[in-house]
Subunit: 142 residues, 2 copies
């Protein structure tokens, strides 16, 4: 991992943008958080990173409606490497768009995007991030 | 898992409250989402469930400030059982409170609360949920 800043006190490393995208690309599972009218929805989704956007599928009213009503979303993924004892977390923030042009949908269908729920989902949502941030840190011995 | 509703079309099961708390109690890692001024923060934390509240530690300005400024938070945990091919996701929503009375802190210190970052953290935050919701679903073959 490429580091731009490490806090010697905490061992926490702020990751640069390329490292953030690389780690996010390695994640299959992420959580999407959406704020709606003072409330917050969080749901796990399978993601794929495509050209520095994040694509997920949904067939459900809540997620789809949330992404359309409150298009600002945060997508978080994290992971840990037991070999190195380090964990990471990356958050992308940006706007979510439902794909409804055939060309966009065909492109999304070419992505290898597993569906965690095992049930075919009709819609693709693409998140165009305007901020990405990540950090890595030592995990506690377990 | 106790089910209250299963959608035969999608195989998705809405979990009852007891099952939600039981699953959440089995999770060590969760994500906390906080909405602040139209933005959303999401960060991974180690949690422990104590008497139907969720406790996590923080030593960082952002998380602590966020929990104090915007006390409404959502805590999400999920997991999958490869043996059964089913996954689950539970979200608790409620208010977050920094513990600052000695009795509360001593009680929290008795909880077995691992610190994912391996760095001691000064503050405890307790989330008093007023809503809990969860679902389980089949995962896609991988």
């Amino acid at each position: 991992m490429t580091a731009v800043t490490t806090d010697p006190r905490t061992g926490m490393t702020i990751l640069d943008e390329d490292t953030c995208w690389s780690l996010l690309s390695s994640a299959r599972l992420a959580r999407v958080a959406i704020a709606i009218a003072g409330d917050i929805e969080v749901f796990p989704v399978n993601i794929v990173v495509d050209d520095r956007t994040v694509v997920f599928r949904t067939g459900e009213g809540t997620k789809l409606a949330a992404a359309v009503i409150a298009p600002r979303v945060a997508v978080e993924a994290d992971g840990a490497d037991p070999a190195t004892g380090r964990a990471w977390s990356v958050v992308v923030k940006g706007r979510a768009e439902r794909l409804d042009r055939f060309a966009d949908i065909y492109r999304a269908e070419d992505l290898t995007l597993p569906d965690w729920t095992g049930h075919p989902k009709q819609w693709f949502v693409r998140v165009y991030g305007d901020q990405i941030a990540g950090r890595s840190f030592e995990t506690a011995p377990t």
